[in-house]
């Protein structure tokens, strides 16, 4: 039992906080997952969930960072389109004349280990997506380097690989193949991929992809990429796809992947998503890393920077309560997933 709950006294009794408001307490509901035990256990550690088996093959030793960002910097031109002379770009290395550029990111240093769930926050133009693309390897740094030692499943531009003329089936094979999956692997997982995308997608497997609704296209895209067996998952604002039901399914799958000990890198403007998935927060401002710490603290700092007086920081009591409530919700979801996994194994 953790100290926070013991302070609060036995479950079921309301506890008054310093400001005269009731403090948060776990409570039992009708549809609690099996094994939920707030009377005796209050943290993830109390429950001691077993490691979830996964098919991920790690290339690095445990304990070594999987992402290492070293003095990273990238420079962009200010104007969207430029008048370039051939001579200038080819021999750019030699010529050093003044250009109107700005550093979208500079002097970035951090490492990410196995199984960490990192959330990236920052205002528009802060360089979040740029950083994610550099980790994905689709942008190259002008300074320093980003070393990524494991395979990456990028949930960026989800439907980018799909071709409207081809059928959904062909598109699945192509996109998965482009991300390095072998034909046999795709065969083995094809049903999983399509099942996840939903019955409408299965019904339309052999019609040209452009006849799919945009929601269905994104669902299939999400489904394919999350079926890649890569240890690192990069997400750029695409967690919330489809309708509410599918969104919950996506969240569930993300959490399943996290249960397996994969590393997550999430860019989002949704504080709910960030707090739900991430334990560590990185705060980018003006292209520099200004904060690196627990997600909720980073989130509060970012929000108060962003909104100024419009954002009221939680009192220490409130912060504790929110953390407890979040953890309680996480425990419930994990218990639910454990039950799902158990029933999947028993068939």
């Amino acid at each position: 039992m953790s100290d926070d709950t013991t302070q609060l006294g036995p479950i079921g009794e309301p506890v008054m906080g310093e400001n005269g408001k009731l403090r948060w307490r776990p409570e039992r509901r009708k549809n609690d997952p099996p094994g939920y035990d707030p009377e005796h256990k209050s943290t993830m550690a109390d429950y001691g969930f077993p490691p979830v088996p996964s098919t991920v093959e790690w290339k690095t030793d445990p304990g070594r960072p999987v992402i290492e960002v070293d003095n990273l910097g990238i420079e962009f031109l200010r104007g969207r389109k430029r008048n370039l002379s051939l001579r200038e770009i080819i021999f750019r290395g030699g010529s050093a004349h003044e250009k109107d550029t700005f550093w979208a990111l500079r002097n970035l240093n951090f490492t990410v280990g196995r199984g960490e769930a990192v959330g990236l926050v920052g205002g528009n133009g802060g360089g979040k997506s740029t950083l994610l693309k550099m980790i994905a390897g689709t942008l190259l740094p002008d300074e320093g380097k980003a070393t990524v030692r494991e395979g990456v499943a990028p949930l960026i531009e989800l439907t980018g690989g799909f071709i409207g003329e081809l059928s959904a089936r062909e598109n699945v094979y192509l996109t998965a193949g482009l991300h390095g999956m072998a034909r046999e692997e795709i065969d083995a997982r094809f049903d999983d991929i399509v099942d996840f995308a939903g019955p409408q997608v299965r019904a339309g497997l052999d019609v040209p992809f452009r006849h799919f609704s945009s929601g269905m296209q994104v669902r299939l895209g999400f489904s394919v990429i999350t079926c890649l067996d890569e240890p690192i998952i990069l997400v750029d604002e695409v967690l919330a796809v489809g309708d509410a039901a599918f969104r919950e399914k996506c969240y569930n799958r993300m959490e399943n992947l996290l249960d397996q000990g994969r590393t997550l890198f999430l860019v989002s403007h949704s504080s709910a998503d960030l707090l739900r998935f991430c334990t560590r927060g990185l705060y980018l401002n003006g292209g520099e890393l200004v904060g690196d710490g627990p997600m909720d603290e980073i989130m509060d700092r970012y929000m108060s920077d962003l909104l100024g007086d419009g954002h009221q920081l939680p009192t220490p009591e409130e912060a504790v309560d929110r953390r407890l409530a979040r953890e309680d919700a996480q425990i419930k979801r994990r218990l639910k997933r454990e039950a799902d996994r158990a029933s999947a194994v028993s068939g």
Binding site: F76, I89, P141, E157, I163, L166
Partner: protein, 273 residues
């Protein structure tokens, strides 16, 4: 450069996926799919045959190295089509696939190579035209004899042209992504190059009438390539070994230069697309 080459080789499976994708897209929509691959060069051959074979008709043996003009023309036109399509389309190789380029961490060279291979396969599939003409002139008209052992020359010819297209594509793709009007320049250059390649005339006739131009033409790798393709049916012309060697050297230089340019421009291109 060795690192980049190794990464490309490591991703050869993806390369085939991309090639298949290209071909499938090309043939998915139209019922006539494959027929277009045949009709297109045939129509071009018809035009050039009419202009240069009928209107500017000369009876000189040297104009087509002693082979029937149509056959000589087709054997030059098909490889040219491959080259032309590779160069013009590699201009858009990165920008037309920008969504994929932005979301997958593949060696970016693959986007060019896959295009050259796909166009090369289309070229191979258009070869029945050439075979049909050869058979006709051999057995129908009886004007030529075929030397089957010389089909071996086609292997280096294919390799050289592949290397050349890839090398030039490596320059085309990033430069056009950065400089808009580069494509126009290239289109003009291609049109000039068409007439600097022995397609509608033989290099022999060029040597007779404009010896200085012949020296320039020797540096055009397609001169050697076309000569290799034509050896199968050309009656009494010795292979132009000088052009062959230059074709190898120039093509290899293009690849080295192309990889250098590609590497140099890659970071800026990724920011731009």
């Amino acid at each position: 450069m060795a690192v980049r080459l190794r990464r490309i080789v490591e991703h050869r499976k993806v390369l085939w996926t991309l090639v298949k994708r290209d071909l499938r897209v090309r043939y998915a929509r139209s019922v006539l799919g494959y027929l277009w691959t045949l009709i297109d060069p045939l129509a071009m051959a018809l035009i050039y045959w009419f202009v240069f074979g009928v209107i500017y008709h000369t009876n000189s043996e040297t104009r087509s190295d002693g082979a029937p003009f149509v056959l000589f023309l087709v054997a030059g036109l098909l490889p040219w089509n491959w080259f032309n399509a590779s160069i013009t389309e590699s201009a858009r190789a990165l920008s037309s696939e920008r969504l994929l380029v932005r979301s997958t961490n593949l060696p970016r060279e693959l986007w060019v190579i896959r295009l050259v291979i796909a166009k090369g396969i289309e070229f191979l599939m258009s070869l029945p035209i050439l075979f049909a003409f050869m058979l006709w002139f051999r057995y129908g008209a009886g004007q030529i004899s075929i030397h089957p052992e010389r089909f071996l020359y086609w292997i280096p010819a294919l390799l050289i042209e592949f290397v050349l297209c890839v090398g030039m594509g490596f320059v085309m793709a990033p430069v056009t992504a950065l400089v808009d009007d580069f494509v126009r320049l290239v289109r003009i250059a291609l049109r000039m190059l068409f007439y600097l390649t022995p397609i509608v005339y033989s290099s022999q006739i060029l040597a007779d009438r404009a010896p200085w131009a012949k020296h320039i033409q020797q540096f055009n790798p397609l001169t050697g390539v076309n000569d290799m393709f034509r050896q199968v049916f050309i009656p009494h012309q010795a292979p132009d070994y000088h052009a062959w060697i230059l074709a190898v050297v120039v093509s290899c230089l293009w690849v080295v230069f192309g990889m250098w340019v590609f590497k140099k421009l890659e970071p800026s291109v990724l920011k731009e697309i």
